[in-house]
């Protein structure tokens, strides 16, 4: 590997690949607790499971909270202002930009699907995003 080549984050980048392929997943332990990779031990207190299996993520989630970000980190400056939300997909929740809607129109309770977005950025070439359904 050359020094110029970006190094992947195993687990996380694999998950983004899967999202790009339209097949996002979560990890489930034998007791039904959900989590996200990279992960070896179920994070549910007292669960202790190390038997985590990939399962398909539900197609839609619900916005639990949302904000319109005006002052962004340099990697996302070109996108600002943008709506950033935490959406609950059942077994796991995710953080991402809300696309395809005026940013101030994104609301708590809105049903969204997941997509892989390309932010206007030099350092982040892809990111988790939501689209209202």
């Amino acid at each position: 590997m050359s020094d110029d080549e970006p190094v992947r984050d195993a687990g996380f980048d694999d998950w983004l690949d899967a999202l790009g392929d339209g097949d996002p997943y979560f990890l489930e332990c034998e007791h039904g607790h959900g989590s996200l990779p990279p992960r070896r031990v179920c994070p549910e207190p007292g669960c202790d499971s190390t038997d985590l299996e990939k399962r398909s993520l539900p197609e839609t989630g619900r916005i639990e909270s949302v904000t319109v970000v005006s002052v962004a980190t340099p990697a996302f400056e070109a996108d600002a202002p943008f709506a950033l939300a935490v959406a609950d997909f059942g077994p796991v929740s995710l953080t991402g930009q809300v696309r395809g809607i005026e940013s101030e129109d994104a609301e708590i309770g809105t049903t969204v699907s997941l997509e892989l977005a390309t932010p206007g950025s030099e350092t982040v070439d892809r990111a988790v995003a939501f689209r209202p359904r």
Binding site: D9, F12, L36, P43, E64, S65, V66, T67, V68, V69, S70, V71, A72, T73, P74, A75, F76, E77, D79, F82, L84, A85, V86, V92, S93, L94, T95, G96, Q97, E104, I108, P119, V124, A127, V128, A129
Partner: protein, 388 residues
């Protein structure tokens, strides 16, 4: 178990001094602390130092020995990092060492140089306290994280931007007479509401500034204080820490901060008191909503009632329990690694009576400090009491 006494406190003024190095800031705070303590530097057995973004802001790791050196102290030194709660975690360790008899005299403090990074650089540096993969790479910033908590709070309990504005107005008013504060000026509710938004519902005046500064404490055992005849009337009687999932998205709710509840329960239990005995508090108001979440978590307001506390005057200088008489992070400033210890320095002066607001809390003999890291994945609470 040996009681831990605060022999001396020292602060730099917090503010915008981009050219000053971290070591220079920390040296100034320690000079003040040693003067206040009347303890010779040669008696210091260890230095416990909090700092968050030293690698980014100053390209400087291994800051413990550097800072001991700057303070003129020849002793082992360790840096503590827990985001914005860094120096409070250093205090926790110092308390444990003195109580166990491992040490009698410790220098504890923190420093942060931030403004040299500029707004974008500091925003990026602060963001590393969040989960890089699942939050920062999705566009999260710290104001955005607290904005998400604010919206979740409004959805669960009600409240609005105007309620939050009263927190900022109160803390700015408190800072007017504090010469160590970054903003010694009053603001109005209208100023807060009309300021540009950073991340809705939070605007510029809902947010703490980017600050440079340092803080220091000389902590001693009760026996050392007695032996040396020190005037050290304030003791750290309770210390507690709580933790939570790192990423906001992994929490059960964004409308509460259970790590801070856990920290306060442990600290109150440690001190053998309850929240009803607290007479004055310094809490981690990096954003206005953070003060609301803090006072609910540490039992100074019931769940859902914290949002109205500033507006109703319950936490103002005239209120039942004044909160952030220093000006808080909001107006005093927030050099992150210095903040936890600075809260204890301010509280010590309030309880001793040599703070500009000392007369306002003359009857208070119990103070509590709440210091939070990240989106409160780390929380540290300390109880201070007048014991002599």
């Amino acid at each position: 178990m040996s009681e831990v006494r605060v022999a001396g406190v020292g602060l730099t003024p917090f503010g915008n001094s981009p050219e000053r190095t971290g070591r220079d800031l920390f040296a100034e705070a320690t000079i003040a602390a040693f003067e206040d303590a009347s303890v010779p530097r040669e008696d210091i057995e260890e230095v416990l130092y909090g700092n968050f973004m030293g690698e980014i802001a100053e390209h400087q790791g291994h800051q413990g020995p550097l800072m001991a050196d700057a303070a003129g102290v020849d002793a082992p030194a360790t840096r503590y990092e827990a985001a914005c709660a860094s120096s409070a975690t250093a205090v926790r360790d110092a308390v444990a060492r003195i109580r166990s008899g491992q040490a009698d005299v410790l220098l504890v403090g923190g420093a942060e140089r931030m403004s040299n990074l500029g707004t974008g650089g500091a925003t990026e540096a602060l963001a590393i306290a969040a989960d890089d993969l699942w939050e920062v790479r999705a566009g999260m910033t710290f104001p955005a994280a607290y904005a998400l908590m604010a919206e979740a709070y409004f959805e669960t309990y009600g409240g609005d931007s105007e309620d939050l504005a009263h927190v900022a107005v109160k803390n700015h008013a408190n800072a007017v007479e504090n010469d160590y504060a970054q903003y010694q000026r009053e603001i109005t509710v209208e100023d807060v509401l009309e300021a540009p938004r950073v991340a809705t519902p939070l605007g510029l005046y809902d947010s703490c500034p980017i600050s440079d500064g340092a803080s220091a404490l000389v902590l001693v055992s009760e026996s050392y204080a007695d032996r040396k005849g020190l005037d050290a009337s304030v003791a750290i009687t309770g210390s507690g820490q709580g933790g939570d999932r790192m990423a906001l998205q992994d929490r059960e709710t964004m409308a509460r901060t259970p790590a801070a509840s856990e920290a306060s329960e442990k600290a109150y239990d440690d001190a053998g008191i309850g929240p009803e005995e607290v007479g004055v508090a310094e809490v981690h108001d990096c954003f206005t909503i953070a003060e609301v979440l803090a006072i609910e978590a540490i039992g100074l307001a019931s769940e859902g009632e914290g949002i109205a506390a500033a507006r109703e005057g319950r936490t103002t200088v005239e209120g039942e329990v004044p909160v952030n008489l220093s000006g808080g992070l909001k107006a005093k400033g927030h050099p992150v690694g210095a903040t936890g210890v600075s809260q204890l320095a301010e509280l010590t002066k309030l309880l001793r009576g040599d703070h500009p607001h000392g007369d306002r809390v003359e009857d208070a003999d119990v103070g509590v400090a709440h210091n939070a890291g990240g989106t409160v994945a780390s929380a540290v609470v300390h109880v201070l009491e007048v014991v002599a």
